[in-house]
Symmetry: C2
Subunit: 475 residues, 2 copies
């Protein structure tokens, strides 16, 4: 069995923790691991990491490879999308790539950002699904509802097919509360989990029937996929491939195939599953305090109840709150009534329409070589902390508009300026004049940390000319 | 007429904006000016600044002088208290100092942190109070209530004395809501404003009757008060004076004198007055939006009502809040139910008991020479922005535990290290080795801004040996 993990999060619903540059699957929402790490790890007893593929947006490729590195994930099994084009595109493209080696392989689809706490029953279920998929069914996992959730799509079971699986009577979009209550009472309705199991050939055949244009276009994607050069040689679409991808119809696999195909089977799942759709989900998947709060970080809490308070290092003092969501990050704070959690996207839209940076990035950004944090940004100067991981180096670069001043505060820096290289220890300093070609590297086994002071008339990330980069970046 | 402004705020109720180092009177809660600036400025048409005295805690002396400098306030009229000892001590001490030059002067007492928006009627009232005080009354200003406030003390008027003033029937501590409603209905009850007008000699005589021990001790304070050396030569108690001050009884002037003396008169005031006792006061003294919110700073607000949202530069996104107080600062955030505003002191007590720094200081601290902001603090390194005002200089100092790296980002720095002085322009750098005597000065007419990186095994403000200081600081 092969796995394809769909990592297409847009970073909206978990704002301000999630950003466009850092969607939900790349965050640790519960526990230490990130959601995509949990997703890969969870299925590994039955689907080895060497059979696990991930498809994600181009801009998240490095971070995804970096997060999955210690799990043994190979960057050559990371596919990237130039832009989001919904699940039919992502799944069709993945299936086409898998079919090159083994068109009869069983392929299981997992969203990268769901929580499943009952791993063993889940894995047992996947084995059942594999058997049903081998009989040319498109198997969708239907979660047995435990509450009348209006926020989920539902699947109504039809007649029994084989094993414990059923024909699908119909798919139901998010129902109203009353309808959801009736579903729960009546039984035979399941939450649509977005987890699917099928044979590659079965799926591609159904795509050819119901999304024939997509089916035609998949060939063009497949032959235009090549590994990039650099530290993480993930699979990228070349320019013609990206052009085809951009022209694909944006339609979900549910609408495009599942609701039309007569090969669909639903396999009911009695597992603890949560799609972690909003901040309120935290109350269901985390340990609550006696007043039903979920509190983390540097919080002084007095007499709050039913609230979600997620702080970081900065002190958050909360007093007398009820049904409040509060999420603090270094550059943006969200405070919202719990009942309005679904409307956080309104906030994100408003911020986006005002072209504020807090939608895209945090003040701390990860890079293939480590990370940086902006400590202060003023018109003509900017202060950053830069962390370079052991063995890594920044690109050989220069800047048109700024000089840079580096003070090493931890580790050992190899600094090249023009043709001259030097070694700097903690407590040593160097200036990079405007326009000079330079490179910062860490050849030691501990992290290198420098404080950078930039001075110039334009202090933007895009004032960077890369002359050479080990990570294959050219922009 | 002389004014004595009592600036004894403890920084509790307006936390996190106020801190022990920065109490309410030194903040601009409404408008551009700070509360103490407004207080001095408001009375200046009838009490010239040369007749205005301020009494405040020692630790706020520099900042108070600095804030009042442009109003023409002379530091020699700033008295300081080594520790807070309530209003009898502060007022008695001030009266004793005034009596040295003119025991028959009229002295008006003003809290430094109240809001009065109707200046003209207020000044007219003060002139009336002056006339009554000349007849040896202790005049207290009673504000005509406009609502049944349970948070204020009340004064009940007795029989008419002279002008529009009355004998005081009795003083009433904060009543319950019902009693306050009856007061409002009945009439003849006034809010106790803490504004007093009397002859210095009358007050001292009443102190000798009702607080005889204090009266004796005042002489010891008076002869031990001397101006400090340095930029702001305010009046400081020498060691014997401070010892006396520390031993004074801590009692309010209301309890100590006003409730006992038969010379007390209340002058009813029909003015707009607010003691700005909690964050909720902001709704009364600020411009509200159509949903009764008071919002300032970098806020994205969607469908909030009856809330106070005070942000700074950091983005605050608020959605669907009702009756919430939210105050954001760089190092601490307060979020609280509006009805719990009185309990913010519980938060402050808890933070204090946990010995967190956020009670005392902000990340930006003002100094006689300018200010600094801590941008990042880690175990072995610390990053600061330092702003030195034109013409100012830090002390000649050295550090036992740290080296410092300075990059000039704006202005021109005069840097002395050991015996060597140098001039550094923007984009220049210098290292201060551990243990080296050094001084940073700004001899130009624009602000000097440097980024400082400290490295060492102990990075505390108290690792500073001052060899010479133009502001008279020796610790």
């Amino acid at each position: 069995m092969h796995a394809v993990i769909i990592a297409g999060g847009s970073g909206t619903r978990f704002w301000p923790k999630s950003r466009e540059n850092l969607p939900k699957q790349l965050l640790s929402i519960v526990g230490q691991e990130t959601m995509i790490q949990n997703t890969v790890d969870r299925i590994s007893p039955i689907i080895p990491v060497k059979n696990t593929w991930v498809i994600t947006n181009e801009q998240h490729a490095f971070e995804t490879c970096s997060q999955l590195k210690n799990l043994g994930f190979s960057p050559s099994q990371l596919l990237t999308e130039p832009i989001p084009r919904n699940t039919s595109a992502a799944i069709g493209y993945s299936a086409k790539i898998l079919s090159r080696n083994n068109p009869e392989a069983i392929m299981a689809i997992f969203p990268a950002d769901h929580v499943i706490t009952t791993t063993e029953p889940f894995l047992k279920l996947l084995k059942q699904a594999e058997a049903i998929a081998n009989e040319n069914h498109l198997v969708t996992i239907g979660i047995k509802p435990t509450s009348p959730e209006a926020g989920y799509g539902y699947i109504k079971q039809g007649k029994l097919i084989t094993g414990n699986s059923f024909k699908v009577d119909r798919f139901i979009e998010k129902p109203d509360k009353l309808t959801a209550e009736n579903f729960l009472k009546e039984g035979g309705y399941y939450w649509n989990s977005g987890i699917f199991v099928w044979k590659v050939s079965t799926l591609l055949n159904e795509i050819s029937l119901y999304l024939p244009k997509l089916h035609e276009q998949l060939e063009g994607l497949s032959i235009n996929t090549t590994p990039i050069k650099g530290k993480y040689p993930y699979q990228k679409l070349s320019k013609p491939g990206a052009e085809i991808f951009n022209s694909l119809e944006s339609i979900s696999i549910d609408h495009g195939v599942m609701e039309k195909s007569n090969k669909v089977a639903v396999l009911p799942a009695n597992i603890e599953w949560n799609d972690v759709g909003t901040w309120t989900s935290l109350a269901a998947i985390s340990k609550n305090d006696p007043h039903r709060n979920v509190i983390s970080g540097n919080v002084v809490s007095i007499e709050n109840s039913d609230s979600i308070i997620q702080a970081e290092d900065r002190l958050v003092a909360a007093l007398g709150l009820k049904n409040i969501i509060l999420v603090d990050t270094p550059d943006a704070l969200l405070v919202c009534a719990k009942e309005r959690a679904q409307d956080i996207k309104k906030i994100v839209e408003k911020i986006k329409s005002e072209k504020r940076p807090e939608v895209n990035t945090t003040i701390s950004e990860t890079r293939p070589w480590g990370n940086y944090t902006v400590l202060l940004k003023e018109t003509n100067y900017l202060v950053k902390r830069i962390v370079v991981l052991p063995g890594e180096s920044l690109s050989l670069q220069s800047h048109k508009h700024r000089s840079e001043h580096w003070t090493v505060v931890s580790g050992v820096a190899q600094v090249q300026i023009g043709e001259i290289s030097q070694t700097l220890n903690a407590n040593q300093f160097v200036e990079i004049p405007k326009g000079a070609k330079h490179r910062l590297a860490n050849r030691n086994e501990t992290a290198l940390i420098i404080i950078e002071v930039q001075l110039g008339d334009k202090l933007e990330e895009d004032d960077i000319i890369r002359h050479e980069d080990k990570y294959g970046r050219d922009d």
